[in-house]
Symmetry: C2
Subunit: 458 residues, 2 copies
């Protein structure tokens, strides 16, 4: 029979078990922290009705959408777009979910969602067509206190502290502050503001001089002074809490919107500190815009101090109205998203991921098949104590079994020979320390539990 | 602006947070048990290339497949089937995964996979187009000891013991035993065996008499005696370990295949007992066939003793060769699948699911916004002790905050008023017991931790 070549679509990240374990631990850490702050789990179907999904998106999004058809539908002549499509983020499904279940939810509604999303991107290194997003949002009904804006950095801090991938900074800005400032230098039109922001976005890549020249150039037509003031403004970064407040005060009160933005950002910073986020881990960065239409207040980005090239690993912000396409209710909210698949891939590329231990903690070796029942009993004991235990079911050379444990990253190998069984003991080899002890069967689970708990990864 | 109606595709199970928490706990319990037996995590992309996915399936499968196209592909004239399709189970992706990564895997390869699959079913109550499968498989290279067949019921037992959904029975059979027996009554042709099995499958619905008459009728043409013997055979069920062995011995040795099946099943039963599965929880059931082409040895089903109408909640078996479509390597294996979405739905319908506690364990109430920093400090302390804690960020009536906790299923409400802050205490209300204690801030986390651990659900 002719074989079909086993292969996967480019743009997906399919992992071998050791990497999958490391990735799963990352997702578990994210989830544990989301839950620890009182966010509730939500999962939505991967498919949405096309008209629901593409309510307001323009052509760009539509070109990246995957459409879904059952075989029956394929046979019908196509009229317009197919009925179903895969979600491209978790925000549109959240909006649909909240609108659909509005009367069954408690507000403020705090949800987390950790699922995959799909984008028909061109295949390219580091670009994914299927990737996990880990989102939290707090949604208010009619209104939502700005205090929630300060909780978000507290969650971000605790997630990345526990992921232990090096020092990081949570950058804060406020769209009102930005909008007010642009107005104060004479850019009042939202389209022109958007244009200016797109230029400012090139700051990192093209440098300050390039951006200043563009803004003061013929296409844009600002005065050299206004262009310089914009550049000074967007390059403001703080170092420490007091510095952040001082830099905001130094902006002065150009207009009401600017003043409101400054007040909101100051209040947020004060509360971020009250949440216990160390001031080494948050700062203001007045260049952060995060999309041009969606966010209306606080915006966030997060970067790894030692790996700025990775870019923002967690972003989001405050929006005025989540679900205006589906409901007349006003649903303001604030939230963030971590692109876990891309983050994992980047950390792996940057060699920032240590080798994860196997999910299997003990391998019970087998010397002789007549001893198998005794091995199974020991294994049941260990599992009862919460220790993940694999039993070698076929007898074979002990050396080969040790090698298997070593390659698989299994920490302990338990050996029960006739001697051990006679004495009621087990010989345990610690594959990491390469030492070996004989221990009574009654004490085995407790002893291993103690050693494993000592160094459970965060 | 015209609103789009927020709605989801029929055949998906989108849950409100309390149910989602209960469902998530179910998946967590399944995963913890899979890991406890040393199975390694694997995730595969939701899309597969159509030619890979549909290698050998017939028309039935194809009619149920969802095909996927990006917008670009939609614009091209359709030629044959679209390039991509959503997986309809986790077995084909496993075969593709093992063939693709064969040289990077350790054999026997023990993997678990908990992901959603997609079938274009007709919309119907209790039928899902998107549902979770929780699979484990052990895959050998060239050969795989039959001992692994005994490990599977041990995993099934520990999963459903921990799910605590009532007494259950793991039913075992062996296709060789079945095949040998059919040969011994004169049905040697595999097609005729398949036909007879389809009739036998109607046993529960149509009754023994109907099946016997069909087998002895004109369409099938067995002698009345042969039909009766088949009926006697497939109605064999055991009660207890010794009874199972005795019933197998009583079958006699009709032919070599039957003898082999009996020997395998006896060996499996002995080892299932050695794995510590109580004999109240496993039995032989010689009517179980589980599909007609795929399985070649041991087969499993699991039913809830008090809810037989739910049918099998966990099924699987032994197969000779996993991935013959993709590789010349011989890859025998054994595995099972739990259809978690359907199971959850059925348990809910049968009112077998207790109300799950919220993932949020403590709500820190707010009496006065000036006290918020103190509340945040207490919350950080609790989170540090692994207690999921939500803080009310807006001051409001205390009664309303208690009501919120009650509706959301949050067990404890912590109140910090000016008195408490002066004394360094917190007042804690246990919403379940409806009692209230004042406790020092230093002891709070420990005290709550102790109460919460006492009754952590399995």
């Amino acid at each position: 029979m002719a074989l079909t070549q086993a292969r996967t679509m480019p743009g997906t990240l399919e992992l071998l078990p050791p990497d999958q374990i490391a990735f799963q631990r990352m997702l578990d850490t994210v989830r544990r922290n989301f839950e620890s702050f009182g966010f509730l789990p939500v999962e939505t179907p991967v498919m949405e009705f096309t008209d629901v999904l593409l309510t307001k998106q323009g052509g760009e999004t539509e070109r990246q959408v995957y459409f879904v058809q059952s075989t029956g539908a394929l046979e019908k002549p196509a009229e317009g777009l197919p009925e179903l499509a895969l979600r491209f983020d978790l925000t549109v499904p959240l909006a649909r979910y909240v609108a659909e279940h509005e009367h069954d939810l408690n507000f403020p509604f705090r949800r987390y969602q950790i699922q995959r999303v799909y984008r028909g991107e061109r295949a390219q290194r580091g670009r994914f067509r299927e990737f996990y997003q880990c989102d939290i949002d707090v949604i208010g009904k009619d209104q939502l206190s700005i205090r929630y804006d300060a909780e978000i950095p507290a969650v971000i801090y605790s997630v990345f502290r526990d992921l232990a991938i090096g020092p990081f900074t949570i950058w804060l800005n406020n769209r009102k502050l930005m909008r007010g400032f642009f107005e104060s230098v004479g850019i009042a039109d939202p389209e022109r503001q958007a244009h200016a922001l797109r230029e400012v976005d090139k700051l990192d890549k093209r440098g300050a001089e390039y951006v200043r020249d563009t803004l003061a150039g013929e296409g844009f037509g600002l005065s050299a002074d206004a262009a310089s003031r914009i550049l000074d403004f967007v390059q403001i970064r703080s170092h420490g809490h007091a510095d952040a407040l001082a830099r905001l005060d130094a902006l002065g009160v150009g207009n009401a919107t600017l003043a409101e933005g400054v007040a909101e950002l100051k209040q947020t910073l004060e509360l971020v500190r009250a949440f216990g986020v160390p001031e080494t881990h948050y700062a203001i960065n007045l260049s952060i815009a995060r999309g041009l239409d969606y966010y209306t207040g606080t915006v966030y980005e997060t970067t790894l101090n030692e790996h700025p090239q990775i870019g923002s690993i967690c972003s989001g912000g405050r929006y005025d109205n989540l679900a205006s396409n589906y409901t007349k209710s006003k649903l303001p909210g604030v939230g963030i998203s971590i692109g876990a698949t891309r983050l994992f891939w980047q950390l792996r590329e940057a060699k920032l991921l240590g080798g994860a231990a196997s999910t299997v903690q003990v391998l019970v070796a087998q010397m002789d098949e007549t001893l198998l029942p005794a091995c199974l009993e020991i294994a049941a004991q260990l599992r009862g104590a919460g220790i993940a235990t694999e039993v070698v079911m076929e007898s074979g050379k002990l050396g080969k079994q040790f090698k298997y444990a070593d390659r698989a990253g299994i920490r302990f190998v338990a050996v029960l020979g006739p001697d051990e069984i006679a004495k009621g003991t087990v010989t345990v080899k610690d594959m990491r320390k390469q030492d070996q002890v004989e221990i009574s069967q009654a004490e085995l689970a407790g002893a291993l539990r103690a050693q494993l708990t000592q160094e459970t990864p965060a």
